[in-house]
Symmetry: C2
Amino acid sequence: MARTGRPRIFDKELAISKAMVLYWEQGFESTSLAQLKEAMGISSASFYAAFGSKENLFKEVIDRYNTSYGKVTDCLVDTSIKSKVAIEQALRQTAKMQTDPSHPTGCMLVLSANVCSEKNNHVRDLIFKERSLVRLNLEECIIRGQENGEITREVKADVLCTLIEAFMYGISTQARDGISYKSIDQAITQIMKTCDI
Amino acid sequence: MARTGRPRIFDKELAISKAMVLYWEQGFESTSLAQLKEAMGISSASFYAAFGSKENLFKEVIDRYNTSYGKVTDCLVDTSIKSKVAIEQALRQTAKMQTDPSHPTGCMLVLSANVCSEKNNHVRDLIFKERSLVRLNLEECIIRGQENGEITREVKADVLCTLIEAFMYGISTQARDGISYKSIDQAITQIMKTCDI
DNA sequence: TTACTTATATACTAATCGTTCCATAAATGA
DNA sequence: TCATTTATGGAACGATTAGTATATAAGTAA
């Protein structure tokens, strides 16, 4: 049955998108309620009625990121494509997305809450958990590749995972520094060779 | 001649060290004056008399970092050692330093002001300039190596630089995530092979 | 119509932010 | 001794922080 009460006047999904851009650009702590409210075009009352708190909105933003821009690494869990192809695709899509000037550069999961004050350590941990998932997916993808003989067994999966993961995370800072997609893409070509050594 | 006036009661160098730990751990914006003052053991008046502002203290902290922990990449400009050795040393020393639990993990130049609110973009730019210097040193080191025949000429110096730099920056996030020095160190062994391909 | 539910606008809160002011303390120079 | 200089402790500054209170608007259900 239809819900009762006065209908919401603003578009909640659009508001989350606007909030995501701010959190992505400035980070969780450095983004103020005043900025969020202005970008979303709503008042304090509407904000808290719809989202509960600044932190809770951030959680909704993380979900939104994971199901939109963050999907660039989803190929890592796709067992229908070859592992090495999946890794290369994840890296190239990551580089492409993170250098796209139509939104904040870099990865929101790497940049938005890597450092914060003590009182928000639990928010930092939220992001940490998201990264752990990506790492897990990457490592399992590498293990599949080693079992199939696509990826060298000379190096332990854990080490290869650390290698690829560090490179992937580093792209965020490079994207912020203005390093071009082309340069990163060429670096990916080179780093993929380490899977064979 | 000796300076006049009441002598400073606290150790300025020690105070900068205490401030560095806070900025390193939490970032520039997330570190409050109250925290800084307490860690340094001084009052507002002493703080502003000695350092001028929160931002100016941050500049002094950057200098301190560059001449202490940040020296792990200084070998890149040492033309008396082979380029490839210098790069490997820079990476291993970086990994060792950034995972050392006796101080905040990761690199202060990567973590402390990568994202911030608009009003502090000039502070972010300070850190950006510091990173640019490291990148420049790395690229010139690679070029030397290619000229000497130590490093493959199959790949452009710019691309190899982007590859190594991304990996190096990514260590900061990994160190924050608790990835072990051992794992990163083994990854370095692997990534160094890309200099030969 | 009346009751109920939810969203809105506006005003407001206590706490914290970086910074400044002021009186006083402690040194040197004349 | 007395002026000058610099540092100190502590109170206070206006601005901003995240979040609430209150009254009203706008919908559905009976």
